[in-house]
Assembly symmetry: C2
């Protein structure tokens, strides 16, 4: 089984989930006359990041995870999105980037060293498999699920089946 | 790289995270004179599951995911826990179960068919890799992150570094 199959499909599935969730959120905000910026600025707790940042960070972990594991140049994407349309475009751009990879680019990545930043002036080196399992996927899901949880807390009608992409 | 490395360490890391988070939550409840049952019954939204169920479900996805991928008998664990101690014991039991597996038991699992229930009277069959990537891990992280988000919403001092097990 190509290592690619552990990486790119995992990111793609949940980016689809986030995009669908944001579409429902946008319709919900319009129906309830909630200012889109208010919904996108909602946090679970005052010192947590708002919905828009959760979406940007999920995109970032998908992009950088795939780049590092395929030994590609790591793209730097500025976090400038402030509207539903802009966040959808960010997700679409991330999906396009992920779809540009070929399975061959991940050949041998599971045993190759990946060095990545883990704090100011600090890096960590792990094998590709460890990087994926212990850092990249948990970080990615953290932001995808927290975005989902913010939508749920706001009353948007998204459920576990939406999250898994089954609806 | 053995397929085991994509499965068991992923579950173990986050079960450790949940256990540590619940320890902080228990101390927090004691300090703030919050009834433990109230904290364990907290939900992000009225129609979501409470903290205790999020913990039980995370344990369940780890247990059943490993069982199905290793073609072992799938254990059925009743959800009876109502206290911090009982939930810690449930997590510890899940950790012991996961640690009982040997890498050989997952050999070839990535291409083997896994049939699992996906609704009343409904099953789905996927390859082991697809089952892990599209269903088991996303479901597991869903409950782990939602448990974390409930703790955060309650003001418990757990952060992203705790979540990744870096603290």
């Amino acid at each position: 089984m190509p290592f690619y199959d552990s990486v790119v499909p995992a990111y793609l599935q949940m980016l689809g989930t986030m995009s669908a969730g944001l579409k429902k959120a946008e319709a919900y905000a319009a129906a309830k006359k909630i200012e889109p910026a208010v919904l996108l600025g909602t946090r679970l707790f005052p010192d947590m990041l708002p919905l828009s940042r959760q979406v940007q960070l999920a995109c970032d972990f998908a992009t950088k995870g795939s780049a590092r594991l395929s030994a590609s140049e790591v793209p730097s994407v500025p976090d400038t999105e402030t509207t539903f349309d802009e966040l959808q475009a960010r997700i679409a751009k991330t999906v396009d980037y992920l779809k540009s990879f070929k399975p061959e680019q991940f050949e041998g990545a599971e045993t190759r060293d990946v060095t990545f930043p883990t704090g100011p002036g600090k890096t960590t080196t792990l094998t590709g498999q460890q990087f994926l399992t212990s850092f990249s996927l948990p970080s990615f899901y953290f932001h995808v699920v927290t975005a989902h949880d913010i939508l749920r807390m706001c009353g948007v009608d998204v459920g576990k089946r939406d999250y898994l992409g089954a609806n």
